[in-house]
């Protein structure tokens, strides 16, 4: 009988101990964030959408259409159309990214010899149509 009472007592206290933890947090502030109203500040390294770095003053990018990024991309999401100007210098005529295929791995950024690519902080990427998933990186 005593054993039984001790057992019941232990069981009940075990539940109460758990309850105590919950009640403790009842009086502390919320840990969640009201998302669409407030937003995270992402860390510097956050890997969002791949974009070409555009120089603010000149409005130019550094891409030389070498296709290194296209070849490195594991999912074949980048496409560059190579064009040459009068000095036989290569430049990208078209530069597209298929967001639906991108894995946000950053291998393209690492592979670029002129450091022309970067990943921005965009993360709300839902769109209505498939077509909108293909983005042109050129300004």
């Amino acid at each position: 009988m005593i054993k039984f009472t001790v057992k019941v007592f232990k069981r009940v206290t075990s539940l109460l101990e758990g309850m105590a933890v919950t009640i403790k947090y009842f009086f502390s502030g919320p840990v969640t964030m009201q998302y669409p109203d407030k937003k995270w500040t992402l860390p510097e390294r956050a890997r969002g959408v791949v974009t070409l770095i555009i120089d603010k003053e000149t409005g130019k990018h550094r891409c030389i259409a070498c296709l290194a990024c296209v070849r490195t991309c594991p999912n074949f999401s980048l496409a560059v159309e190579v064009k040459t100007d009068e000095n036989k210098k290569r430049y990208p005529g078209k530069f597209t990214l298929e967001l639906g295929k991108c894995m946000f791995c950053g291998l393209c950024v690492d592979s670029c010899p002129t450091k022309a690519l970067m990943m921005n902080n965009e993360y709300e990427l839902a769109v209505y149509t498939r077509k909108e998933l293909t983005r042109s990186l050129l300004p």
Binding site: S14, G18, V31, R45, T72, P74, G106, L107
Partner: protein
């Protein structure tokens, strides 16, 4: 009044599909249960709903290109997978990774292990009807993910390790943050224990349920916490040490009976040990380069190599065969969840349906890893 149960009423066994859309099968697993009333007579896991053909994909990708795919095998513990893969390819190439890179790898991998165990702990408690632990546990996971995001730039599929090292050095302030987190985590794990370990309902649901003997676990090829829960002291980090684990001190927790409760206990203890490892690694973190000299186009000499790591769900191994070109000829992936799941059939025989949920939760499978 007492009712006489008529024994001569014939009851037929019937089949019940649990999954693939059932919330407590943790993904797209279909269990075909043969039942007598509510007693499970047989349970056959039906796999393949999440098969993405990882091994085949590998054959058409270069060694570095396959790395982001490795993240998606076990997406809960991506860094641990990456570690295993990098070890395999580095073995094939014969490169030695700089000490600093290895230490960073261990730090982030152990953080990922804690996060992964948290993802197990929360839903496991939820399967048994306790919703509160889930919310508390995910609060801590959020912190880990924030830290890993500041290191790698992503929150789940990190693509942070590279063949021969890591992508970037640790960001400023990370070491202090990680130290503070380890300190913060320990009392939180005690709190998790207060919520469940001695809880009367939890004990009833887990003690003595789904007992897996050590011998059976070995025969099934179980690894990780499932094997250790059955009392077998086997951990790749200790038994065939890789990376810098030999320089770090930690214990391997084991269970005694091999029931659901033991597996639960082992994982909680592992979180503590991981925190211990991180603290030591942060202390010992040497300076130096973070990448070995690796050619830009990786073309290993013809040959084969097997690299393995202790993931949060058991042994994750990569068997890579090279024929001297940029692409592997064959890449076989060995995952812990797959072998652990094979023990399920034996574990649930004779239990009630509600216990199947508990046992399945305690095995901790990730379907991405089971199906690849």
């Amino acid at each position: 009044m007492k009712y006489e149960i008529e024994k001569d009423i014939m009851t037929d066994n019937y089949y019940l599909n649990m999954g693939p859309q059932h919330p407590s099968t943790h993904g797209v697993l279909r269990l075909v249960l043969r039942l007598d009333g509510e007693t499970v007579l047989d349970a056959v896991p039906d796999l393949g709903y999440l098969h993405r053909g990882m091994e085949k994909i590998a054959e058409s990708r270069t060694y570095s290109q396959f790395l982001p795919f490795v993240d998606r095998i076990d997406y809960i513990a991506a860094l641990l997978n990456e570690h295993g893969y990098c070890l395999a390819v580095e073995k094939l190439l014969g490169v030695t990774v700089p000490a600093r890179a290895e230490y960073i790898r261990v730090i982030v991998a152990e953080l990922n292990r804690i996060a992964s165990h948290i993802v197990w702990y929360g839903p496991f408690a939820m399967d048994l009807g306790a919703i509160t632990p889930f919310l508390y546990a995910f609060r801590e996971r959020e912190m880990i993910l924030d830290m890993l995001e500041s290191v790698s730039g992503q929150r789940l599929t990190f693509a942070y390790m590279r063949i021969g090292g890591v992508r970037q050095d640790l960001p400023e302030g990370f070491i202090e943050k990680a130290r503070a987190f380890c300190k913060y985590l320990k009392p939180k794990i005690d709190e998790y224990e207060t919520l469940l370990t001695e809880n009367a309902i939890f004990l009833k649901r887990t003690k003595g349920v789904g007992i897996l003997s050590g011998e059976a676990a070995i025969n099934y090829g179980c690894t990780g916490p499932v094997l250790r829960g059955s009392g077998v002291k086997y951990d790749i980090r200790k038994n065939s040490p890789y990376s810098v684990y030999p320089e770090l001190e930690f214990d391997i927790p084991t269970g005694t009976v091999g029931d659901t409760w033991d597996r639960y206990k082992v994982r909680l203890e592992e979180m503590r040990q991981s925190a211990r490892i991180i603290e030591q690694a942060l202390e010992k973190l040497p300076s130096g380069p973070i990448m070995a000299e690796v050619p830009k186009i990786i073309k290993p000499a013809p040959g084969e190599a097997y690299g393995r790591a202790e993931s949060s769900r058991g042994e994750i191994g990569f068997f890579v065969v090279s024929d001297g070109t940029q692409y592997p000829v064959r890449l076989k992936i060995r995952t812990g969840s797959f072998s652990n799941l094979s023990a399920l059939r034996d574990l649930v025989k004779g239990l009630k349906i509600a216990d199947v949920v508990a046992v399945l939760g305690s095995i901790d499978i990730v379907l991405g890893e089971v199906d690849r």
